[in-house]
């Protein structure tokens, strides 16, 4: 703005120059962000007011105003209706209402359409355009769909400004793209640049004098501008309404930020692109399907139905739609015809010509694809029949498209179509100036066949052509062409070639002059000039429309051109009265009238004549002057005879005439004023038009926002519930350590009250012993964002918590404070302690018992064994594959182990087996495996203990062996005893002797057997003990007994035989010699000879000479002999004097 102030001499800005400009902002999904960005830079001190139209959920309270107010210095408020828009304010649309503006006052509107079809942005923009004209600006921001695209058309049409968010910066680019694709957008900007652009644009407007200056310069250069456009684009806009043209050119100048129109003209000449842009701007108009649907319904009844009904089979119904723009109207009509034909079950050939001068629009029209939102305009019954959905848009079905031929054609420049049944030209004429309108209507008259129909826009009229187009329905602007012969619009001939250079301004063109130009064929001209009676065609008011033949005798055309226009004024005396009368009568009666015996008086003479008035069909009257006799020249005298009465009449008539002329001028002026009023009314109406073209599309998209808010509300309530109900003590502090939030459960640690929110955590007392550490950790987390873990307890040492301090981050990841979460672990710690004790005890038990613990997982086929277990298995600690475990078992035991494991796994049979570990040593390690199936937490496994039973196993086998040996010996002993008994029985009949002997022998055997129990006897028994045992029964005898010898041993195998032999010798000695009461001496010696034989000597020294005696009892000596042979030895007995000597020589042997 400063720049502008310097460029132009600063005009004093009076208070009424501060014209408020209203910026309408349309946004939908993703709009909030864009609006914030856009408005955050807006200053409250320029003359801009903002109205935000956002798609809002009607059932949901809007937070938009609240959210925006934080972001901008402007005053933000939600509209309640009735606010006068003032600068520096932002007005927000309330939910469930539309918004419109009237005389700068906001009004709430009810939605007519159902949700999903509403287009509040279009609605508002259109009302804004109408109300504020070029002081309306529209901004279209992020959103899906196409709402706003129709509205911006209206803004543009009324000279307003249109800005669209750069689709690349939009979260949802549907609305911006759709708006941009209209080709009507002035600026595409990032949100942050939008306000600046608007400010710059209105810098001109806000200074009234500059504004007026530009307007003036535009109106001066308009012909040149039109000519440049005509040269470049080939279309002449000079006939268009000047006010519209000036407004639109002025807009371009403002958009380009230029000083005046001459600069713009310069730019226009140098830049063909600008020509194109201006052309497009000039052509802005609003169209939609079935626009003014009630009028279409009327058209259907009065035109379409009869046309279809009355059409013969080979007839073609021809329809022409000039100015079809993007084709909606053409398709509407085509659908109307197709639908009617369908209802009447007729197959009629319908040809629709749709023309426009804008090739770009025609392209859109031919494609026949429109935004989904436009579908709402098509009556429900026709939607499915005549449209197909395509990528979020819809296309008109080809059957309808084939009915229409789109072509580039100018109504006023190109030859018209002919023999047309219906011309629909809606909202085109309102852009035309009077002259162009007057050109277009005859063309329509020519094109439409007699009794054909003309269908105009609601604010258009047939104007002065009401004599050829009679209204059928005035409301709907449906007219019927009269029966008159079509007249080819002559001006079309060669017009292009004639026209060069700047044209006159249309305002100076007067309509009647066009009529005087009407010409007929040359020969007819000649005929009427030369041979026909003089004729004159006049209107009912007496206005001369056309003349033929020599009328000089009847009329005087010498006056000024203004009075020459009316027949009575120019008629000569004698003619005037008749002409006036006959015109009045003819207009009334519409019949041929003759006035006879008239005399026309001129300066030169008199001419008798008859005057015939012939009413022509279009309301005009043809006057025919038929001469009744020769012309009689006047004598000189006649001048003198002039009746003074004549002079009086003459002066009266002159006076009357001048009065009439003044009246006429006044009427004309009134008519002009009326025309102007009408045209401004038309303009108003056309502005109103755009109000109707609404777009309802995007409110569905808004559901996204709504659902987000819903989610947020739910999440918020979840959160507050969580805070209220959780048993988890939690505090949130902000970056200055002030308490932001906490859960109720925190009171066990910090005695917070609700009022403590906002107090620094450092000031609050706590039950924690480590309060300082907690505060320090929190500080650290706030500083670096790294989480901290602490274990804290209360001062009594009763409770313990695990504290996690984490950084608190806002949604955009900015760190702003910390969260302290306490988890009570008192019980967990106690449990842990108890568990550890239990574990230690168990471990100790296992260690002492040497038990290993194993666990088998059938799924992974692994066996986990603890340390002692691994030692037993001689495997590494940890888990080993089941296969490998099986291999530690000896080959023979493997199958059994596997079977038992499987059985335990499958059937849950308890496991208890003993097996040997594989290995080569003579000693196998025996292992016992005990366990059972444990189920839990989805998996089943085997759990048990393993221990080494090698020692037990060996002890058992030794015991068994010993038992077997004992049994054997017992049996042997019994055999011997039984043998002894039987043998003894054979040798004596004396029972008591038998018993004594056997008893003595068994005792001897038993004593010697005792010896074997006294100690380790692997090497045999000492000789001395064996002999001593044999002599034991005689130790109390008085006899002298000695037994001496080297420490030789008697083997276990030899013991029985040796004992028996010694027993027999001792028995004999007791019976017969030294061991009885007779006295004597016994010496027993033993020695080992060099050849390994042992020699045992038994010397009995008797007190008397020994008598040679027989060998006592026979059995005794048998036993001695048998024992000796058992010992593998021999016995000799020598007797000399009182010595009785017995010698045993034997070979000691070990059992093989």
């Amino acid at each position: 703005m400063n720049d502008d102030d310097q460029k132009t001499p600063t005009p004093e800005r009076a208070s009424d120059d501060n014209r408020l400009s209203i910026v309408g902002i349309g946004a939908s999904a993703g709009g909030l962000e864009a609006i914030r960005e856009m408005l955050s830079g807006a200053a409250p001190d320029n003359d801009l007011a903002y109205v935000v139209v956002q798609h809002l959920d009607p059932n949901h309270e809007s937070l938009l105003a609240e959210l925006l107010a934080r972001q901008t210095s402007l005053n933000v408020r939600q509209v309640n209706g009735g606010e006068t828009i003032e600068a520096g304010n932002v007005y927000i649309i309330p939910p469930a209402y539309g918004l419109s503006v009237k005389n700068g006052v906001l009004e709430l509107t009810e939605f007519a359409q159902p949700r999903g079809l509403r287009r509040p942005i279009d609605d508002f923009f259109e009302s804004l355009a109408v109300d504020q004209g070029r002081f309306a600006a529209c901004v279209i921001l992020s959103g899906t769909g196409a709402d706003g695209s129709a509205g911006l058309r209206a803004i543009k049409e009324h000279g307003g400004l249109c800005i669209v968010q750069d689709p690349k910066t939009a979260k949802y680019d549907g609305m911006p793209l759709s708006a941009r694709n209209t080709g009507l957008v002035d600026f595409v900007r990032r949100p942050s640049e939008i306000v600046e652009t608007i400010t710059q644009f209105y810098a001109h407007s806000l200074q009234h004098t500059v504004d007026a200056q530009i307007a003036n310069s535009v109106s001066d250069t308009l012909p040149d501008i039109c000519s440049v456009v005509r040269n470049f684009v080939g279309h002449d806009f000079s006939g268009y309404k000047t006010s519209t043209l000036i407004r639109r050119v002025q807009r371009r100048i403002q958009v380009l930020d230029m000083a005046d129109a001459s600069a713009y003209l310069q730019h226009l000449r140098s830049d063909p692109q600008e020509c194109e842009l201006l052309f497009r701007d000039l052509l802005i108009n609003v169209t939609r399907f079935f626009r003014d649907s009630e009028h279409f319904e009327t058209l259907r009844q009065v035109c379409v139905q009869p046309l279809i009904r009355d059409a013969r089979d080979d007839d073609e119904i021809r329809v022409w739609i000039p100015g079809c723009s993007s084709g909606e109207e053409a398709y509407s009509l085509a659908m109307l015809f197709a639908e009617e034909a369908r209802i009447q079950k007729r197959s009629v050939n319908i040809q629709i010509f749709a023309t426009d001068i804008d090739e770009q629009m025609l392209r859109i029209a031919r494609e026949g694809t429109y935004p989904q939102a436009a579908l709402a305009d098509i009556p429900e019954g026709m939607r499915d029949l005549y449209s197909v959905a395509r990528d979020g848009r819809f296309q008109i079905v080809s059957r309808i498209r084939d009915m229409i031929r789109f072509s580039l054609h100018s109504v006023v420049r190109d030859p018209p179509f002919s023999n047309i049944d219906l011309v629909s030209c809606r909202n085109l004429l309102i852009y035309f100036g009077d002259r162009l309108q007057a050109t277009a209507l005859p063309i329509f008259h020519y094109a439409i066949k007699p009794r054909g129909i003309l269908f105009l826009g609601p604010s258009e009229t047939v104007g002065r052509y009401d004599h050829v187009f009679s209204p059928i329905d005035q409301q709907a602007r449906i007219f019927r062409r009269n029966e008159g012969r079509p007249e080819y619009p002559v001006h079309l001939r060669g017009k292009d070639s004639n026209q060069s250079g700047p044209r006159r301004r249309p305002a100076t063109d007067s309509a009647p002059s066009t009529r005087l130009d009407w010409n007929d064929d040359d020969s007819i001209d000649r005929l009427t000039e030369k041979y026909a009676p003089p004729t004159m065609r006049v209107s009912a008011a007496g206005e001369i429309l056309k003349t033929g033949g020599r009328l000089g005798k009847y009329f005087d055309f010498s006056g000024n051109s203004e009075t020459n226009r009316f027949a009575p004024s120019t008629a000569r005396p004698g003619v005037r009265e008749a002409v006036s009368a006959i015109i009045r009568q003819g207009a009334r009666q519409k019949r041929r009238i003759v006035s006879r015996d008239l005399v026309a008086q001129s300066e030169f003479g008199e001419q008798p004549f008859e005057l015939i008035a012939e009413p022509v069909g279009d309301g005009t009257i043809l006057l025919i002057f038929r001469e009744r006799s020769r012309f009689e020249p006047l004598d000189e005298d006649e001048f003198e005879e002039l009746d003074p009465m004549d002079g009086h009449v003459q002066s009266l008539e002159d006076e009357l005439r001048s009065t009439r002329i003044r009246l006429h001028t006044t009427v004309e002026e009134l008519e002009t004023a009326n025309e102007e009023l009408k045209s401004s009314n038309e303009e108003m109406m056309s502005m109103n038009e755009e109000l109707q073209s609404t777009n309802e599309e995007l409110s569905t998209v808004n559901d996204e926002l709504k659902s987000k808010v819903d989610e947020l509300s739910v999440a918020n309530s979840d959160l507050s519930n969580f805070f209220a109900s959780t048993a988890l003590p939690l505090v949130v502090v902000d970056e200055t350590m002030e308490i932001r939030n906490f859960t109720d459960a925190i009171t066990a640690i910090y005695p917070f009250r609700v009022s403590d929110r906002g107090r620094p955590l450092t000031e609050v007392t706590s039950t924690l012993r480590e309060n300082e550490a907690v505060l320090d950790a929190t500080q650290d987390v706030i500083a670096d964002g790294e989480p901290r873990h602490l274990r804290v307890g209360d001062r009594e040492g009763q409770r313990t918590w695990s504290l996690v301090v984490t950084a608190y981050r806002t949604r955009d990841g900015v760190q702003s404070g910390a969260t302290l979460v306490f988890t009570e672990i008192t019980n967990a710690l106690r449990l842990e302690e108890a568990l550890r004790h239990e574990g230690e005890r168990l471990r100790l038990a296992l260690d002492v018992s040497g038990l290993g613990v194993w666990e088998c997982d059938p799924d992974t086929k692994t066996m986990r064994v603890d340390k002692p277990g691994s030692a037993i298995l001689r495997q590494g600690e940890g888990s080993l594959a089941l296969r490998r475990f099986i291999r530690t078992v000896t080959l023979e035991d493997r199958e059994g182990v596997e079977t038992a494991l499987n059985a335990a796994m499958d059937d849950g049979r308890p496991l208890d087996l003993t097996f040997r570990l594989s290995g080569s040593g003579p000693r196998f390690t025996h292992v016992r495996l005990v366990g059972h199936r444990v189920s839990g937490q989805g998996n089943t496994r085997l759990l048990g203990v393993i221990f080494d039973v090698t020692n037990e196993q060996e002890a058992r086998s030794i015991r068994e062996m010993m038992l077997r040996e004992m049994n054997h010996r017992m049996k042997n002993m019994f055999s011997i005893i039984s043998g002894l008994v039987r043998l003894a029985g054979r040798n004596t009949d004396d029972v008591s002797e038998l018993v004594d002997n056997i008893q003595a022998r068994i005792s001897a055997l038993a004593r010697s057997h005792d010896l074997t129990q006294r100690g380790p006897h692997t090497e045999g028994l000492p000789f001395k003990e064996v002999v001593g045992v044999a002599l034991q029964p005689y130790e109390n005898a008085r006899s002298d007994i000695r037994y001496e010898g080297p420490s030789l041993r008697v083997s276990r195998e030899d013991l029985t035989a040796m004992s028996l032999l010694l027993h027999e010798w001792a028995t004999n000695a007791a019976k017969y010699g030294v061991l009885n009461a007779s006295g004597g001496r016994l010496e027993v010696t033993w020695k080992e000879q060099q050849n390994g034989e042992i020699v045992l000597e038994w010397n009995e020294y008797h007190s008397d000479t020994v008598e040679v005696q027989q060998d006592g009892s026979g059995f005794g000596s048998t036993l001695i002999q048998l024992s000796a042979s058992q010992l593998n030895g021999r016995v000799q007995t020598e007797v000399s004097g009182n010595l009785r000597k017995m010698v045993l020589v034997y070979e000691p042997q070990e059992r093989a």
């Binding site: 077997r964 049994n967 054997h968 010996r969 017992m970 049996k971 042997n972 019994f974 055999s975 011997i976 005893i977 039984s978 043998g979 002894l980 039987r982 043998l983 054979r986 195998e1053 029985t1056 035989a1057 028996l1060 048998t1118 036993l1119 048998l1122 024992s1123 042979s1125 058992q1126 042997q1149 059992r1151 093989a1152």
Partner: protein, 122 residues
Amino acid sequence: MSNGTVLICEDEFVVALDLQMMIEDFGFDTTGPYASVEEAISVLPGNLPDVAVLDVSLKDGEVFPLADKLQEQGVPLIFHSGHVYDHEIFERYPGAACCQKPVNMALLQDALMERTAVRAAS
């Protein structure tokens, strides 16, 4: 008239003498008693007995090498043992008899008569 010759193997001299006298009382001729396997085997050629009464465990080991030889020659066997169970013997020497120590006279006599009778009949 002798009922036949009985080979006796027994290393315990008292038992051997008892057996010998008992068997002679039954009306058999005896050969032995032998205390070792080696000794008994050495006398076999040319002196094949009609039946043999064998202690399992002898001085120089178990009697089975001798028993095998005797079985080959078709000599019926009667085992006189303190520590060998019947079924082990029956498995190895089908048709053999077992007389547990200490010997039961009647059982031994029956076994001997039975063995020699079978032998005479065949």
